[in-house]
Amino acid sequence: MQYFVNVTLTGLTEGMVYSAFALALVLIWRSTRIVNFAQGSMAAATTFIALALIQAGQSYWVALIVALLSGLLLGAIVERVVIRRVEGGPELNAVIVTLGLFVAIQAAIAIVFGSAFQSFPTPFGLEGFQVGDNRIALTPNSVWVIAAVLVTMALLVVLFRFTRIGLAMRASAFGQEVARLLGVRVGRMLTLGWALAAVVGSLAGLLIAGGEFVYPAYMDSLIVFGFVAAVLGGLDSPIGAIVGGLILGLALSYVSGYVERGSALVNVAALVILMVVLLVRPGGLFASSTARRA
């Protein structure tokens, strides 16, 4: 029983991390209709900025704020300087450009910060809570991760559903021409979308890094799981991203914990889950529109 609880809690925490990353993907998809492969290395870049600050003696929270702000800046710059050139062309072009960015940014991190493994501190403890005689696999740090992701999701829901700017962002993403005719400043909205997505991505990067090891490619496997989680949830819905992440995290943890040599099967299991969901519900679990493209 205790084993089941621990495997479940491990899956829950991992799942929340996938959710955090999926949220960033959903955000950029909703505001620009582009799948951003560079998200992972952009988040890694800001995580390394935060780590440099912490190692220079700053507190975790200062580093967190600086990382989020540099994410904002990085997102805006990437959109203005790189993505703007290919926007409006075939959608595939933009996606391929983000793939190129992914590799380029990762290489830049290695050049600036080196490629060594480094541990990344957490603001909260890494020892599990005591329940009765047992310690369970839920740590103060996992609670912080879960809370941060849920708050971020709530903020995104509010932004898109209840604010004019959220509406304008969605309009710009769906139909640039129409939005422009209606007076929406589409260019600015796209920049804002990228900037915000990069902020959420930076947060995800920091949450993932806490209590783990970072190196320039540390986001690689999470990019895959984050994408799977986002697609599971429908790519369109912040709640879907959370649910997708949790389902994936739990399922992978059970595979790893209960299947013989499960650790090796985790990546395969992610693919199987993705295929099954897409066969049953091609739009993902929480898809709002049937006319998904790309």
Partner: protein, 444 residues
């Protein structure tokens, strides 16, 4: 999608003041320098080109990326003393990021473009397996693979050019199993294994001695950093003694996960994953002091087949310290650098034994004839012969206390299969002048 890091560390040594004053200058082997010839690919009158592949980036880079820097320092100091028979060593090592696809590529480059004489110390079981056939079919000596897999040495007929070097994982497993059977007969043993040859060989060895004591065997896949389910399973199975055949970053991960679960068994990490300094440096950032450096590993057991940096009185460590200070780069002398230097030492022994004008086949023959008698920093003798290309055969057992280790069981010898475990009755070898061996040529 790993970035194929262009971090190719090639070191080109300017011909350093060619000392062709009659090969006696630390060169050993005797002979007349004027007789130096370009006797084979990668050999010129005044240089020998050696190649290697190491993970300088990626998941296996912590620790392992330091090995070639140790070897480089050793060769640099050797070159300052005149090299081997008046030839300087040109050592080229390239990054494969512990990815077999990259290994094939960089080894192709080393053999076909750089035209090295031999590959020395290529690291990793999955990585080096990818180039095993290539090197043997090309007839390139493949010396002293940095891995304890049985693949490199137990079948010299199939792989005549390949030699192991460190203690193989099966022998290590046997020595660990024997120790547990004698000292912890009531322990319920759990195994934490890397899911490849490394874990399998170790498990096979350990099961020869304590099969009935093992209550769980959990496997992790390198790259999947969530070991929560595996550690929780060991805890659930009631294991109070855990043996890990894992790489250093997974030592840190297993310790962190155990801390999270409040799981506190007696740990025994095999040599590969146990470096206290490295694991401590991996852990020390966490929780801003809540997890302090190596203290998590305190009391853990491990094995050794080389002297370590925490033995400042050991003459080999003192000599390696001198070499690192004089010829090394940034950073401290570490156990990984000692490993690289020791491997370089054995390499020089092989080159000396191969004579004034070595050939690739002659080098292999020299190791088979003389390698079993070589002494050096390695604690126990090598098993090299025509029938076996296995490396050293013995290990000591030690306990981590703080940042250092103390010996629990002195060196014991064994071999793969049903060979017995025996205490080693030899002495520690003396350090030769300048840390340069002086082997006679065994090739006419």
């Amino acid at each position: 999608m790993t970035v194929i890091a262009a971090a190719t560390a090639a070191s080109t040594l300017a011909a350093c003041g060619g000392s062709d004053d009659g090969g006696g200058d630390g060169g050993g082997g005797g002979g007349d320098a004027s007789a130096n010839e370009a006797s084979d690919i990668g050999i010129t009158e005044d240089s020998i080109k050696l190649g290697a592949h190491f993970p300088l980036t990626g998941v296996a880079a912590p620790g392992y990326s330091e090995i070639p820097t140790g070897a480089q320092a050793y060769f640099d100091c050797l070159n300052n003393e005149g090299g081997v028979n008046g030839r300087t060593i040109e050592y080229i090592y390239r990054d494969d990021a512990y990815n077999p696809t990259n290994t094939s590529q960089v080894v192709n480059q080393l053999v076909l473009e750089d035209e090295v004489f031999a590959i020395v110390g290529g690291l990793g079981t999955p990585t080096h397996s990818a180039v095993l056939d290539f090197l043997n079919s090309e007839g390139v000596p493949d010396l002293f693979v940095s891995s304890g897999s049985l693949l490199w040495g137990d079948d010299p007929e199939t792989n005549p050019y390949t030699f192991g070097w460190q203690t193989d994982y099966e022998s290590e497993g046997k020595i660990i199993g024997d120790y547990i059977a004698e000292n912890f007969p009531d322990a319920q043993v759990g195994l934490f294994l890397q899911d490849d040859d490394f874990g399998e060989d170790g498990e096979a060895g350990i099961r020869e001695y304590i099969d009935d004591q093992i209550v769980a065997a959990e496997r992790y896949t390198p790259g999947n950093t969530n070991v929560g389910p595996q550690i929780a399973a060991l805890q659930a199975a009631g294991a109070d003694f855990v043996v890990g055949f894992n790489v250093p970053s997974y030592t840190a991960l297993s310790q962190l996960t155990a801390l999270q679960l409040g799981y506190d068994p007696q740990w025994f990490y095999s040599n590969v994953g146990s470096d206290p300094t490295l694991v401590g440096s991996l852990l020390n950032n966490f929780s801003q002091g809540q997890v302090s450096d190596a203290s998590l590993l305190d009391g853990a057991l491990t094995t050794d087949y080389l002297p370590t940096v925490d033995e400042p009185d050991n003459p080999w460590v003192q000599e390696f310290q001198r070499i690192w200070d004089e010829c090394g780069g940034d950073g401290e002398l570490t156990n990984y650098r000692i490993y690289g230097m020791s491997q370089a030492y054995t390499t020089v022994q092989a080159l000396q034994a191969a004579g004034q004008n070595p050939t690739r086949d002659g080098l292999v023959e020299a190791i088979e004839i003389a390698g079993g008698d070589w002494e050096g920093p390695v604690l126990a003798p090598f098993r090299y012969s025509e029938d076996s290309h296995m490396g050293t055969s013995g290990m000591s057992i030690s306990r981590v206390t703080g940042d250092t280790t103390e010996e629990v069981v002195p060196v014991q010898l064994t071999d793969i299969g049903d060979a017995e475990i025996e205490p080693f009755d030899g002495e520690m070898a003396e350090v030769p002048e300048n840390g340069i061996p002086n082997e006679e040529s065994v090739i006419d």
